[in-house]
Each structure stands twice: as structure tokens, then as C-alpha cells.
């Protein structure tokens, strides 16, 4: 098969010409792929930076028709939602990760690993419906807790798999040395293995937080949004991505400017988390080696 393909390749200059044309096309495709993505970042930077001010971060939204105001409640709300999601999601994710790494050679663990990966691909709007059925329907109210549960479900598979990866990288010699000294398994885990893998676990949690901080779809009918300061965890809560969505679709110029500004802050937060985690883990790896 390969030889016949060679024969149809033609003369050497022709083959070299094809090689060069394809090389140029591949180079072009890289440019085409990166352009719209960099445009998005560029426009958010350009349109967002002028709208950044203290009011945006600290004031409540003004009633419709009045200029000014901010979305301080949304920034607070996003912080509360992230805290709640981490509270529900991190313990389950880390424990499941420990299970997959330390007891993960069974058929059950393999199925669980596969399902966890599949859970990562479930559309976030579906997670919203699930959280609605599990929390909003029984409590008869949109709430911060419902939003936290939805975000936690998105967070769990990410934390599980990164925890597993981090613990698998911990050399077995460490486990053996500890167990060989007669240390209990749980103490080996708590004092030897977990501290050694902590950097990787924290990385996973940070990346998961970066992911959920921009999630909008699962919050539409769980957190719901609000135009006031938060009043308890059982009430609807504002969130930055929800506010960006609502303001972008509204017909007011002032709201559009605020949406760009909030988008700017959200994007910077997410990019800084991602870049920061990469820089820290890279230097961490070098130390281990």
C-alpha cells in the first residue's frame, strides 16, 4: 500500500513542492485557529477596561433606566457560589481520587474512572436541570445552595481525576518505606502520600475553580440571579456570568458597558488562575526532578 502511494507521488521536485504547499497551509491553519480566539480576548480587553471602577465592584445595580451602579452583589455572589461548590465538591472529589489512585486496579474502579471521564463531558445545562430537581423542587426556592450543588457536580470529576493523577506520581518507594516501618496505612496516606501529592491536588482544585467561575448555564435555574445583596443561602443569588448574560441581552448601552467590564474581570481571573497554576506546577516539577 505504501509503495503504491510512493509511486503516485511523482517526481522529486513535485513532491517537494507539495510538501512546501502543505506546510504553508498548516501554518495558515494555525493562524486561522488562533485569530478569532485572540480577537475575543482583544475585544474584551479593549471594551472592558474603560468600565472598570470601584462602583462596579462595590455598588448594587441601579433600577432599570437609571445610569451608574455596579454589580458588587454579583462578585460577592460568585465568591459565595465558588465557596459552596468547593465545600461540597472538593472532599468528594479528593476522596474519590484517593480511591482511584490507591485502590484503583479493580474492575469497579475502572468503570468508575470511565464514568467520571464521561461525567466531565455532560453539558452543564443538564447539570442545571439535575440540581433544580434535587434542590430547587424540594425546597420550593431558587437558592445559593442549589447553585453551589450544580457547580459542585461540575467540579467533582475534574478534582477526582487530577487528584488521582497527582497521587499516582508519588513514588511507591515512599509508600513502601512508610509501610515497611510499620506505619498504619491511613497515617501513611495522611502524612506521607497526601503531602507529597498536595501540589497536584491544589492545581486540580484551582483549575476546577477557574472552570466553574465562568459557568452560566447551570446557574440559570438554580442560583437564578438577584439584584440585591445576598440574604442567606436559601435565597436566589447573583453571579457575574449570569449578570453578563442578562446585561448583554438587554437594550441599554450602560448595561452593555458593565457587561464588558465584568467580562474583563472574569476573564482576567480565569486566565491568571490558569497561567499561575501552570507556572507554579512547572517550577514544582523541576524541584522534584
Amino acid at each position: 500500500m505504501a509503495s503504491s502511494a510512493f509511486n503516485t507521488g511523482g517526481s522529486l521536485p513535485r513532491r517537494q513542492f507539495i510538501n512546501r504547499v502543505m506546510g504553508a497551509l498548516l501554518c495558515l491553519s494555525a493562524a486561522v485557529a488562533l485569530t478569532p480566539l485572540l480577537l475575543v480576548i482583544g475585544f474584551i480587553l479593549a471594551n472592558g477596561i474603560s468600565g472598570i471602577n470601584l462602583d462596579l465592584l462595590t455598588k448594587l445595580p441601579k433600577p432599570v433606566g437609571e445610569l451608574g451602579g455596579g454589580m458588587g452583589n454579583a462578585f460577592l455572589g460568585t465568591a459565595i457560589l465558588i465557596a459552596l461548590a468547593s465545600l461540597f465538591g472538593v472532599p468528594i472529589g479528593v476522596l474519590a481520587g484517593i480511591y482511584l489512585s490507591e485502590f484503583g486496579n479493580t474492575g469497579f474502579a475502572r468503570i468508575l474512572r470511565f464514568l467520571t471521564d464521561v461525567l466531565t463531558g455532560v453539558p452543564s445545562i443538564i447539570i442545571g436541570i439535575v440540581a433544580y430537581t434535587l434542590v430547587v423542587v424540594p425546597t420550593h426556592s431558587f437558592s445559593a445552595v442549589a447553585g453551589g450543588v450544580a457547580l459542585a457536580i461540575i467540579m467533582i470529576p475534574v478534582v477526582t481525576r487530577t487528584t488521582e493523577e497527582a497521587l499516582r506520581r508519588v513514588p511507591n518507594a515512599l509508600r513502601e518505606a512508610s509501610l515497611g516501618l510499620g506505619v498504619h496505612e491511613w497515617k501513611t496516606m495522611m502524612y506521607i502520600v497526601l503531602p507529597a501529592g498536595l501540589g497536584g491536588i491544589v492545581t486540580g482544585v484551582m483549575l476546577a475553580i477557574a472552570r466553574i467561575s465562568g459557568e452560566t448555564a447551570p446557574l440559570l435555574f438554580t442560583a437564578f440571579g438577584s439584584r440585591f445583596w445576598q440574604d442567606g443561602l436559601g435565597n436566589p443569588i447573583a453571579a457575574v456570568p449570569l449578570q453578563v448574560y442578562k446585561y448583554a441581552l438587554a437594550p441599554y448601552k450602560d448595561w452593555h458597558d458593565q457587561a464588558w467590564a465584568a467580562a474583563f474581570i472574569l476573564m482576567m481571573l480565569i486566565l491568571i488562575l490558569n497561567v499561575g497554576v501552570r507556572v507554579v506546577t512547572r517550577s514544582g516539577f523541576q524541584k522534584i526532578r
Partner: protein, 328 residues
């Protein structure tokens, strides 16, 4: 590659962990990890599936199969059929994939096979960062930058040049199937690039060296040695991209126009399955309405799950083949 000795001792450790230790604290430790980690996760997945099925059962019972092939979506008459939304989802996803696939594979080949390592690595890092940008921010850009551009420049040009093609018919709204497809292409490019790059990296270097030693050019080594070897993994990357496109909600909702209609023209506003859930779920005032919306979600859920499973199996089969040949 891990050598045999650590693997064996790890097995021993795990065997001891499961059966050996008989003291109480360790049994408690194992129970906690199993109950609150593994079992909770498994139960959570089961609950997700069960609650979706249970909530849609009313709508499934009332409409049966007609839900899949009727277009009337009328809450007032309590008549629900999802075909319009399925059409919008499928057309935008396929359009997005048609645009994204050649570009993404081009980027991956460029990054792995042609570019010097520093450039290849920087491209991969930038693409991964772009994957982290939330959907709602892309939608914001879509509404205020891409849609006006389509409406003023791109769509009029197409309409003028192909006046008789039903594909480009009608007034240039800006919002519509084309806008949805384009925004999806932008969103799935990072996914396809990242996975196909990982797959191509696992192709053993010896494969390429053998081709080059025979006098093949770079492009020939790529098309004859690397791509056939990575074929199933690359297909997996595309299927994973499709899964992502089908379930994408916010960005598409913001640019598709949200009008339930089936039209051949790419310039007409449409509606997708994820968008109808996003827009109408909080307005669903009676149980059947809510149940019908959940059934739309269940369909989406089922399709994306199947896509994901298929994709993982495809990617995994390439990785396993490389391992067996001693590659990677």
C-alpha cells in the same frame, strides 16, 4: 514506562490495602475513602441519570415517539414536539465541526510535526488557555462583534453572489444558524486540537524516522506514517468536539436568534435544544411543560454521553496500540 518492579510492589500494596490490613483505623480509613469518595461519586452519577429519566417520564408517556418527529412547541395548547430544536442543534453542530475539524487537525499537525518545539508548545498552551474562556464571554463577543459583522459584510455578500441558493436565502439577520455554527467552531477548536495533539504525540518516533529514512518528505511522513497510525484517536478527538458542540448552551443561545423554525437557509434564526432549556425552563409553569423541557435535556444527555463514551474508547484504542508497540 514504569518498570516491572514498582508496578508489582504497587499491586502488593493495593492487595495489602484491600485484604491485608486488619487493624481498625485502616479499616475505617478504607471505608471512608470508599463510601464518601467512590460510592458517593457512583451514586451521584446514578442520581443524575435517574432524575433526568424520572422528570421526563410524564412527557415521554404523553407524547411517545411523536416528541421526536413533530415540530409544534405550543405551551398554551400543551403540545410539545422537539424536532425544530433537534434540527437547530444538529445543523449548528455539524456546521461548527465542518469548519473546526480541518483547521484543528491542521493546527495539531503543525504543532507536532512541523513547528520547532518552542513554537509547537506555545501554540498548545495558548490553545489550552483559550479553552478556559467561558462560553458566556464568547457569546458576548458574538453578539456585539461577530453578529453585526455577519449582518453587514458576510451575509449580504453571499446573498448577492448566490441569489438562487436556498442555503443563503433571506434577509441578513446576523443571528441564525451560521452565527451559531461559527461560534461553535471557535469553541470546539481548542478541544479537538488538544486531544489530537495528545494522540499524535503518542505515535512512535521510529514510525516517522523510518519514513524519512526512505526519502519521504515531511508531509509524506505525516500522511503515510503518522495520520494512519493515529486515525482512531483523531476520530475520537472529532467526536469529543461534536459532543461538546451539541451540549454547548450560552454562546449559541446568544447568537442563534431563538426562533423555533426549520429553514434551509443558514441565515435564518433558529433554536437549539440547549437554548430552549436555557430560555424556557424558569418560565415552565406546569408539570408537563417542565417535563417536556427535561425530555429535551434527556435526549441531549443521552446523545452527548454516547459521543463521549465513543470518543474515549477511540482515543484509548490508539494509546493502547502505541503502548503495545513500545511507543510513547
Amino acid at each position: 514506562m514504569a518498570s516491572a518492579a514498582p508496578a508489582a510492589s504497587k499491586r502488593a500494596f493495593q492487595a495489602r490495602a484491600l485484604f491485608g490490613a486488619a487493624n481498625l483505623p485502616d479499616i475505617i480509613f478504607r471505608t471512608i475513602v470508599f463510601l464518601f469518595g467512590a460510592l458517593t461519586l457512583l451514586v451521584l452519577i446514578a442520581i443524575i441519570v435517574a432524575s433526568m429519566v424520572k422528570e421526563s417520564s410524564q412527557s415521554i408517556g404523553v407524547f411517545g415517539l411523536s416528541f421526536l418527529h413533530t415540530t409544534v412547541w405550543d405551551p398554551v395548547k400543551e403540545q410539545f414536539g422537539a424536532l425544530t430544536f433537534m434540527y437547530g442543534t444538529i445543523v449548528t453542530s455539524i456546521l461548527g465541526l465542518l469548519i473546526a475539524t480541518p483547521i484543528s487537525l491542521g493546527v495539531a499537525i503543525f504543532a507536532v510535526e512541523l513547528a520547532p518545539p518552542w513554537l509547537g508548545n506555545s501554540i498548545s498552551i495558548v490553545v489550552e488557555l483559550l479553552a478556559a474562556i467561558p462560553s458566556v464571554l464568547l457569546g458576548l463577543w458574538g453578539i456585539f462583534v461577530m453578529v453585526p459583522f455577519l449582518q453587514r459584510v458576510v451575509e449580504p455578500a453571499f446573498i448577492e453572489r448566490f441569489p438562487d441558493l436556498p442555503l443563503f436565502e433571506g434577509p441578513p439577520y446576523g443571528v441564525g444558524l451560521l452565527a451559531g455554527g461559527l461560534i461553535l467552531a471557535i469553541m470546539v477548536i481548542p478541544t479537538i486540537v488538544a486531544i489530537s495533539r495528545d494522540v499524535m504525540v503518542t505515535v512512535p518516533v521510529a514510525q516517522r524516522e523510518a519514513m524519512l529514512a526512505l526519502g519521504a518528505t515531511n508531509w509524506e511522513s505525516t500522511t503515510w506514517a503518522v495520520l494512519p497510525y493515529a486515525r482512531s484517536g483523531l476520530l475520537g478527538a472529532i467526536v469529543l468536539g461534536l459532543g461538546r458542540a451539541l451540549g454547548e448552551t450560552m454562546a449559541v443561545t446568544m447568537v442563534i436568534g431563538n426562533q423555533p423554525q426549520i429553514s434551509a437557509s443558514l441565515f435564518h434564526p433558529a433554536y437549539t435544544m440547549a437554548s430552549v432549556i436555557a430560555n424556557e425552563f424558569t418560565e415552565a409553569t406546569f408539570d408537563l411543560y417542565l417535563s417536556a423541557l427535561t425530555e429535551v435535556g434527556l435526549l441531549l444527555f443521552g446523545v452527548t454521553i454516547i459521543m463521549n463514551m465513543l470518543a474515549r474508547l477511540l482515543v484509548w484504542s490508539t494509546a493502547r496500540a502505541s503502548q503495545q508497540l513500545g511507543g510513547a
